[in-house]
């Protein structure tokens, strides 16, 4: 029958694709799910859909760079991004995804080496600024000389400056900002690891990511989202890795202003690339960069490939159009997930046995039709989950398994509705055979409207819900559709077929259709004579 064909097709495709197991959700096989909520970087108003999608893409690229397969980054609702990665170090993923604050370029006022919190500060405790890369205008044929890597830490003693910020545009103010004595006192008191408050138009006290240098930084000069591209590579005729950086037109102008001042050593010769409130890199500026194209090299010590790529990635993807906060980090160990899955499957099997037992009690030998519809529905659900897992990446999670088990009830119900209708029709005086047909016409409507409502609820759940609930809604919807398919293509034709047999068609004892069970004296049967003859023959 058609269902068998469909089933064969589904399993045939599975065999063709060579996968027999559905894609399991992280709650079943272990993994980490991080949910982030986005807010406008201004902190108010609606989150822009395109920005959210952009942020999703950026995070996806970051996560992909971890090199683990099957990671999934999805947006949900208006402002949420869900990151799911199987079996990866949770901390690593969190750091990766957590680099979500806005990327800013700020002017360095003061950098100070602090006691390294742990041993082995590389390159003789040189602050990162010391190994500073030197941006040079691109296209300039001058080789990027491993030049003057004077520690940026200014020797001049910090003298009090008027607290009045410069006048003019925001850019002028940012460049002209001078720390007050209070600022210096605060700076001296500041130690790495203290929380920082990265506000664009305010100065910032912070450290580099290693916690080896602390910086006093001016307000943001160029915002990270003005970076158009960044890439790491080895320029021709050179051996060292560099990071190429390009700004958009506004960014280029701002960067040009900033670099022209910085190249004169005002207030220092460094700018800082600040991500997530921490200084990623503080390159030294040797000359103004007017065209918005900069090259950062690794200074005397040079970049390793990894360091260059990391910096490029930060520059390129760090410029998230939104600020994101981590809402939940959820890790399930593979052991725990497996336990829950096994529990659910055992429950499913037990449920099936109980249902079959109940069906036998009520429907006698006709119960095999109920059981068969359920087994068929389960097989179809399983097969489709495998295919959808491979094709669309739909993963089966724990609520999904629960949804499938609930689906047992839905599938059985269609048969029950149909069967009770057949009984009604028989009582109205029809033969079993015609009862199946007329009963079907009436049962069909009921099955469709009730499945329709169920489908609607699955749909609403799927569209409006978050995370794991979607898996549940998906399976619920899937089993409902499968129920309709099986009822129309299996249950009904099977019943028609069965009615042609004598055993069922005449309601023999044990068939589940015997008159005593339906509540009629005798079944109106067209071939009544045949039956009487058989009866007498048996009696004889």
């Amino acid at each position: 029958m058609v269902v068998v064909v469909v089933l064969a097709a589904v399993y045939g495709t599975m065999a063709g694709l060579g996968g027999w197991l559905p894609k399991l959700g992280l709650d079943l096989r272990g993994g980490t799910t991080i949910t982030l909520t986005a807010a406008n970087s201004t902190g108010s108003g609606q989150v822009d859909k395109t920005s959210l999608e952009q942020a999703r893409t950026i995070i996806q690229q970051r996560v992909d760079s971890l090199g683990v397969g099957e990671s999934q980054v999805t947006t949900s609702g208006n402002d949420q991004i869900t990151v799911s990665v199987p079996n990866v170090s949770q901390d690593r993923l969190r750091d990766m995804v957590g680099q979500t604050a806005l990327l800013n370029f700020r002017v360095v006022y003061y950098g100070q080496t602090v006691a390294a919190p742990s041993a082995s500060p590389s390159a003789g405790s040189t602050p990162q600024a010391a190994g500073t890369p030197e941006p040079t205008p691109q296209g300039n044929n001058l080789p990027t000389a491993p030049a003057a890597t004077t520690p940026a830490t200014p020797t001049l003693s910090p003298s009090p400056y008027p607290s009045v910020a410069g006048s003019g545009t925001a850019q002028d103010k940012a460049l002209g900002w001078q720390p007050t004595e209070q600022d210096f006192a605060n700076f001296q008191a500041y130690s790495c690891g203290q929380p920082v408050n990265d506000v664009a138009d305010q100065p910032l006290m912070t450290c580099d990511r290693e916690g080896t240098t602390k910086y006093l930084l001016g307000p943001t000069v160029v915002s990270g989202n003005q970076v158009t591209t960044a890439s790491a590579g080895i320029p021709q005729n050179q051996l060292q890795w560099v990071v190429n950086l390009e700004f958009d037109s506004t960014g280029a102008k701002l960067f040009s202003d900033a670099t022209s001042r910085l190249s004169q050593g005002v207030p220092s010769q460094q700018f800082a690339i600040v991500l997530d409130g921490l200084v990623v890199s503080a390159p030294q500026v040797n000359e103004p960069i007017p065209n918005g194209r900069a090259q950062i090299d690794g200074g005397s010590s040079g970049f390793t490939q990894e360091a260059a790529q990391n910096l490029a990635s930060v520059l390129k993807y760090g410029a998230l159009p939104l600020s994101l906060t981590i809402d939940s980090v959820d890790t399930v160990s593979p052991v725990l997930g497996g336990e829950q899955l096994r529990g659910a499957l055992i429950a499913g099997a037990l449920g099936l046995v109980l249902v079959a037992a109940f069906a036998i009690a009520v429907y006698r030998s006709l119960s095999w039709v109920v059981t068969a519809t359920i087994v068929l529905a389960m097989a179809l659900t399983y097969g489709l989950m495998v295919l959808l897992g491979q094709g669309l990446g739909v993963a089966l999670n724990l609520p999904g398994v629960a949804g499938a088990i609930v689906g047992i009830g839905v599938t059985a119900d269609s048969f029950i509705i149909f069967f009770e209708r057949i009984k009604d029709e028989v009582r109205a005086g029809r033969t079993l055979r015609s009862s199946v047909e007329t009963g079907w016409v009436k049962a069909r409507g009921t099955v469709l409207i009730s499945d329709g409502v169920q489908l609607l609820s699955a749909l609403v759940l799927f569209v409006l819900s978050i995370g794991a609930v979607r898996g549940f809604a998906f399976i619920l919807g899937l089993t409902t559709i499968i129920d309709i398919v099986i009822t129309f293509l299996f249950t009904k034709p099977m019943m028609t077929l069965l009615m042609r047999s004598r055993y069922y068609g005449e309601g023999r004892p044990g068939s589940g259709l015997e008159p005593a069970l339906i509540g009629v004296d005798t079944l109106p049967i067209r071939r009544r004579r045949t039956r009487t003859v058989t009866d007498t023959a048996e009696e004889a």
Partner: protein, 385 residues
């Protein structure tokens, strides 16, 4: 054989066994009592909101569970010397996992607690899995759940009203669904299971399930109400007949639907301990039973109450009453004719009497009752030959 079972057998034979709707007030009172108990439970005991709703950190440590495990793990966590760690909740999951819940921790704090727990359990620290939930997360889930609920109810109300062309059915169905929601949440409050996102999922599913059941009942009511004029029934009687006709289906479906959920619940509670399966299945279990009950007793009762109040149905009842009065008068006349020494000619009787050659008077048939053939087993029938 017990009386209820015999009633079920008769029901399965298509008899109109139960008078479910004349006792509407009783069902309302019953439901009201249950709802009050549930609301008191929610109000007094409150809902045991899971960490997803409260915000916090949750660690799962692989460790064999013994009598002192819970105390030990608690001491390990407080022993880290982190501030505000007094209200650490330690529970066990199954036989080999210890769950530790604390307030929201910062990243370094997580590392510290994780390390301490790993050392205690003697495993590498990456085997201690943890979850962090921000405080606003629960609000978001709740908010989204509420939106889903409202959208769903509105859509479903529209679908029902359009499909049955009767807004009263939509109202009755939605009231009964809300009834099921309150009952389920109330049971949660009393049992004290924690309310997790999985519970929320289950609650939303109950909506679909309860409505599914109500749809089946209403579909039959609609069909039977078409026959009102030919059967000379009131709306209430037709609805009651519909209920009797679908009652067996409801019972069978509910049993079949609940059995797997019960298996899930048992597995969740006794085998797995804490986990989404337990939360999901309890809500489903309660909601399915409540859904079956409310479809029959609440949704249909409300529908009948609303319908019987319409002008159309009032007219119809008056018409039926007049008809009944006439019947009664005719019966009285018949009786008079039978007892009176002087034969009184009654039209109906004369024609019937004339048509029947049988000298025996026909057995009186109660009006409105269906004739049920007597049920005999096959052997009995054979003996009768």
């Amino acid at each position: 054989m017990a009386a209820p079972f015999r009633a079920l057998v008769r029901l399965s034979h298509g008899e109109n066994v139960f008078d479910l709707l004349s006792k509407r007030r009783r069902w309302y009172v019953l439901s009201a009592v249950v709802l009050v108990i549930c609301l008191v439970g929610i109000g007094v005991r409150g809902l045991n909101l899971s960490i997803e709703f409260r915000g916090g950190s949750d660690f799962r440590v692989p460790h064999a569970v013994t009598a002192t495990t819970v105390t030990d793990a608690g001491q390990v966590v407080t022993g880290t010397g982190l501030p505000e760690m007094s209200d650490v909740i330690v529970t066990t999951i199954g036989a080999n996992t210890v769950q530790v819940q604390t307030r929201s921790l910062t990243s370094p704090e997580v590392t510290q607690v994780r390390g301490a727990l790993a050392q205690w359990a003697g495993v590498p620290s990456d085997q201690v899995s943890y979850s962090l939930i921000g405080a606003s997360w629960g609000q978001q889930i709740t908010q989204k759940g509420t939106i889903a609920l409202v959208v769903f109810l509105v859509l479903v109300g529209l679908v029902i009203a359009i499909y049955f062309r009767d807004w009263r059915m939509a109202v009755a169905a939605i009231v009964s669904v809300l009834h099921d929601l309150v009952v389920t949440v109330g049971v949660y409050a009393w049992v004290g299971f924690s309310v997790t996102p999985a519970t929320l999922t289950a609650l939303l599913t109950i909506l679909g399930y309860s409505l599914y059941d109500t749809m089946v009942v209403f579909d039959r009511v609609r069909e039977n109400v078409h026959e009102l004029p030919s059967r000379r029934e009131t709306y209430g009687t037709a609805a009651n007949r519909s209920l009797n006709e679908v009652l067996l289906r409801s019972i069978n479906t509910t049993i079949i639907g609940v059995l797997p959920v019960l298996a899930l619940l048992i597995a969740g509670v006794f085998v797995l301990g804490t986990g989404p399966i337990k939360d999901l299945s309890l809500a489903m279990f309660v909601g399915m039973i409540s859904g079956a009950y409310s479809s029959i007793f609440i949704a249909t009762s409300l529908l009948v109450d609303m319908k019987e109040r319409t002008a159309e149905m009032r007219d119809w009842r008056r018409k039926l009453a007049r008809h009944e009065e006439r019947e009664r008068q005719r019966d009285a006349a018949e009786e008079l004719a039978a007892t009176s020494p002087v034969p009184v000619v009654v039209g109906v009787d004369v024609t019937e009497g004339a048509a029947q050659a049988d000298p025996e008077p026909p057995a009186p048939v109660a009006p409105g009752e269906r004739h049920q053939p007597q049920h005999r087993t096959r052997t009995e029938r054979r003996r009768g030959h």
